[in-house]
Symmetry: C2
Subunit: 291 residues, 2 copies
């Protein structure tokens, strides 16, 4: 079960993550701001997905931690920048002030920049990876996170505000904005554990569906979710006139679409010869999550 | 002579730089914004310093270009973010609108993020570098550019606004904010050309002085520079009450300090067994530049 898996590793992962940041020889204020957003919590979905993909092919090994930490840093930097007044202009995230509200805008911009840069430092400077592994992971991370991936998706998303999108356009945004980093999580975990190229290809397909499932459920929860469980108000998509899956397909259509994709994700995963059920459970976990 | 060197390579370097950006599979608006700041010009000081350091030990080789391009991308991203309203709030740079004024703030933030990420992609994805070279260069770049380097220096600089600093404090800021990236330029060029560890150590010293010389001359030009040659108004440091070398040492004291450092830079360089005068000429070029 995914939630048990998360419970098992949450403390150890969080400790390693904070430790890495604290050990930076950097100005205190910058570290404080980086740590503030890193320690704000969150499910650590991406790193745990990477670890689970590793465990799908091999016993868990110390070498997965540095890339998993790097990935969480990239994800956190993207949230810090997304929350800025020029972007989503959010005052709260996960029940606490956003970085630029707690500190100031300049500090938040720089903390984001530093988290992104430190992510590469984590992989490249890791004591547990070979030169080839470092090159593979950094190449994939830079593609997944940059203009050809997450940042590209973010600009498409900003451009789409107040426009009504087609299903293809909305897929395109989410494949870039959240999908590429989720694919990186799955691919790199499996790669490090020795998955073969055909297995990696099946996992790419699995992860692509997983990213879309995640997003559709996000849209669904914004309509029928429980504010208490979510820790944020629902109905914000409708208020901001954001194009969503339920907006295009209707609520029932979106649920049906999600279920189709869950089916497809499981089919793809069957081709990947994984050694246990954990990655299957992630489909269920993300597709039916309530928060 | 440095200016002849720059003239010789400017066109070829700029073409390679633009080509790399244009080849990204990314949304057009994002690429346009990245290219806008990249093609805004500038002396390309850092890449040429890297190339000169390479030529100090070996014939110029194709392999130096990708790291040199990466370095210019990192430098450009830092300018785009520094110009933002939350930071220096500049409307013009090099005689044209700053990125956020030409596009908008969100686009400028994302263009900066994408340039930083693409820089790592350039090194890691280079067809001309070995895995070991990629690891060396990415490790050094992430240290030089991140919390322990340039971004760290930027936060110290922002914190120093309206405070009067000691000479040590001002040195500290500039060693991080501009010095680390200049040191990266010199070190990585020489490393790629096969310089030995003791030679690299002498070059570290040389580059550290070079960064300070660059900054002191910047401060001096803000007092006695020619606005036409500089392409920007002088006197801005006094207006903004920024702590500067002339502010602490007096104008004559700052000039004397600069000349001492130029002498020291040349002494350090003599230990580095370089094969021509080019890196010596950089001391002169930066120390006595009028723009």
């Amino acid at each position: 079960m995914v939630s048990q898996y998360i419970n098992r590793y949450q403390a150890i992962f969080n400790e390693k993550l904070s430790e890495k940041l604290k050990s930076l020889q950097a100005p205190e204020k910058l570290k404080e701001s980086m740590l503030y957003s890193i320690e704000a919590g969150g499910k650590r979905l991406r790193p745990f997905l990477m670890m689970a993909a590793f465990e799908a092919y091999s016993e868990l090994d110390e070498k997965v931690y540095d890339p998993a930490i790097a990935l969480e840093m990239v994800h956190t930097y993207s949230l810090v920048h997304d929350d800025l007044p020029a972007m989503d202009d959010d005052n709260y995230r996960r029940g606490q002030l956003t970085n630029h509200r707690k500190f100031d805008e300049a500090t938040a911009i720089l903390a984001g920049d530093a988290l992104l840069t430190t992510a590469f430092q984590m992989i490249i400077g890791s004591a547990n990876l070979s030169a080839e592994e470092k090159v593979f992971l950094s190449a994939e991370l830079s593609e997944a996170a940059g203009a050809e991936g997450m940042v590209g998706g973010q600009i498409l998303d900003l451009d789409a505000e107040d426009k009504s999108l087609t299903l293809d356009e909305i897929n395109q945004i989410h494949l870039f904005k959240t999908g590429r980093l989720i694919r990186f999580a799955v691919r790199s975990g499996a790669y490090l554990a020795g998955a073969t190229p055909p297995q990696l290809e099946s996992l790419d397909e699995y992860a692509t569906y997983l990213g879309l499932i995640f997003q559709i459920q996000d849209d669904i929860l914004d309509i029928i979710g429980d504010e208490k469980k979510l820790g944020k108000p629902v109905g914000s998509d409708e208020k901001s006139k954001k194009s969503t899956y339920p907006g295009i397909l209707g609520l029932d259509g979106a649920i049906k679409k999600k279920e189709e994709l869950m089916e497809k994700a499981e089919q793809a995963l069957k081709q990947a010869n994984v050694k246990d059920r954990l990655l299957f459970d992630f489909v269920e976990f993300l597709g039916n999550r309530e928060m």
